[in-house]
């Protein structure tokens, strides 16, 4: 087996991967919600600007975005640390996909829910906050979980801008011959898989929590 200091390097890398993923997920989640709501705005300019954002980040390569933000942005006077550049790129990316998830789920909440809330004289903000969004969140969670796992995997890109995440460490150890390629990549696969399982577990737990009383998939949501 590997020596302790090699394990140590891999676990350090894993920790960086976790940090990048969690921070980018936070940013991505906030952007998903804002962008999803913007897509439903009654103001045309807001919808239009939002669509530009969504189309741009979904339509261009994440690795090129990352390089652009890390290597090109400094020419405009904005230099980001590798961590920040990675988090910003991955977050913007996730937000552009999450936008549709949020928008679709909100639109899927039956119209009667909004009407009942209006009949109770609830303000439009509280309507979204207490009535519509909590119900939509249940629908959002499965595709949102997929986005988180995509994000975890995409986080390996940050190794290309010198951030020493799990993939970066594996490459280093492989190149300097500290361990066999097979061994290193097998370990990396297992570690990524365990992280993904962790995400899946968290999302399941959230589904259970938010779905209380809803009896998902049995048509009970109409009531």
């Amino acid at each position: 087996m590997l020596e302790w200091n090699l394990w140590r390097a891999l676990l350090d890398g894993t920790w960086i991967t976790v940090q990048v993923t969690v921070l980018a997920a936070l940013l991505g989640t906030i952007l998903s919600i804002l962008s999803g709501l913007a897509g439903l705005s009654s103001v045309r300019a807001v919808r239009w600007a939002n669509q530009v954002y969504v189309d741009f980040f979904r339509g261009t390569s994440a690795i090129v975005q990352l390089f652009w933000i890390f290597f090109a942005l400094p020419f405009f006077g904005i230099s980001l640390s590798p961590l920040l550049a990675g988090v910003v790129t991955l977050g913007l990316n996730m937000g552009s996909y999450g936008s549709e998830v949020v928008r679709g789920a909100i639109r899927a909440v039956p119209r009667g829910q909004t009407e009942a809330a209006i009949a109770l004289n609830v303000t439009s903000f509280d309507r979204m906050r207490y009535i519509i969004f909590p119900q939509a969140a249940v629908t959002m969670l499965p595709p949102y979980g997929n986005l988180l796992i995509e994000l975890l995997k995409a986080s390996a890109l940050v190794s290309l801008i010198t951030l020493s995440d799990l993939t970066f460490q594996v490459q280093i150890l492989r190149v300097n011959g500290s361990a066999s390629t097979t061994q290193l990549f097998t370990i990396a696969l297992v570690l990524y898989f365990l992280l993904a399982m962790g995400i899946t577990g968290l999302v399941r737990a959230a589904e259970g929590y938010l779905g209380r009383g809803l009896e998902i998939g049995r048509g009970a949501r109409r009531s």
Partner: protein
């Protein structure tokens, strides 16, 4: 009112005796009105409603055609008419779920869609609409309960977030209302676990919790299995007989309409075809369309 010492719904409810004891408050008025009416705040005066020249179109379809209609404060008005005649639309216009293209709607003497500025009637701000809408509540055909909330939370939500009651006050009001509609043992249930009749009673409690002056009921028993209709009608009957709330009810339950209606309005093609006291509309309808409609409905029963 005094000749109605008991809530006259015979809904079997194990919480009934508990309510009887609890509501024997020392400072309560000597009157023995229905518990439901008391819980619903029956001392509140109903507001009148006036539609003037209200027109509502969906594309090319004119659903309400220059409708003029008045509902007196405290009146129980039943609206009948064939499917697609615009009955739901009237209630939805009053609840501000549909904005009319023309005309004005007044509730308790206040304009709903307009407000006066510099002596002129202009389109109302959202703030003004909300302030007038406070007086109105609605119960829907398909309940529209909030599925992610318990029965208690469904009822206490409005008082808490809209009327600004504290959590305890709102829960207490919700509990009282759920008890009097016979759901004292269902506080913690989510709507998915309730029968249709129970859901609709929660929805009625939710609407009552806002202490409305005008209540709208849109075919509230139509989505129910036949054996569950009675328990909901009992609650409505109690409200109709023991509160001074103004009520607009769209229903196909003709027996019920005859029993509780002060006035029955027959609707067709977005216009009032005929109206009058139930005895007249059901006993001696003047218009052919009313006769045809009633025959069609009664044949079905």
């Amino acid at each position: 009112m005094p000749d109605n010492p008991e809530p006259n719904h015979d809904e079997p409810s194990n919480s009934r005796s508990a309510i009887l004891e609890r509501s024997a408050e020392p400072d309560a008025p000597a009157r023995t009105a229905s518990r439901l009416a008391v819980a619903a705040g029956d001392e509140l005066e109903g507001s009148g409603v006036r539609f003037s020249g209200v027109t509502k179109r969906f594309g090319d379809l004119t659903v309400l055609d220059q409708l003029d209609m008045e509902v007196a404060p405290g009146e129980k008005m039943v609206i009948i008419g064939p499917s697609g005649s615009g009955k739901t639309t009237i209630l939805r216009v009053l609840m501000t779920l549909e904005r009319p293209e023309a005309g004005t709607v007044e509730v308790g003497g206040e304009q709903l869609y307009h407000e006066e500025r510099n002596g002129q009637l202009v389109k109302a701000s959202e703030k003004h609409v909300r302030q007038v809408r406070r007086k109105i509540s609605m119960v829907f055909q398909h309940f529209n309960l909030f599925p992610h909330m318990t029965a208690l939370d469904n009822v206490s939500f409005g008082p808490r977030k809209v009327l600004g009651l504290s959590k305890d006050e709102a829960n207490e009001r919700a509990a009282r209302l759920l008890e009097v509609v016979g759901l004292g043992d269902k506080f913690g249930e989510h709507p998915a676990r309730l029968s249709g009749g129970q859901k609709q009673r929660v929805a009625i409690a939710r609407a009552l919790a806002m202490e409305p002056e005008v209540m709208l009921f849109d075919e509230v028993t139509s989505a129910l299995d036949p054996e569950l209709v009675g328990e909901v009608l009992n609650v409505l009957r109690d409200l109709a007989e023991n509160t001074t709330m103004t009520m607009l009810l769209v229903t196909h339950e003709m027996g019920f309409a005859r029993e509780i209606g002060d006035r029955v309005v027959m609707f067709d093609g977005g216009r009032v075809v005929e109206q009058g006291p139930p005895t007249q509309i059901f006993g001696d309808p003047q218009e052919q369309r009313t006769r045809d409609f009633l025959r069609a409905v009664l044949d079905r029963e």
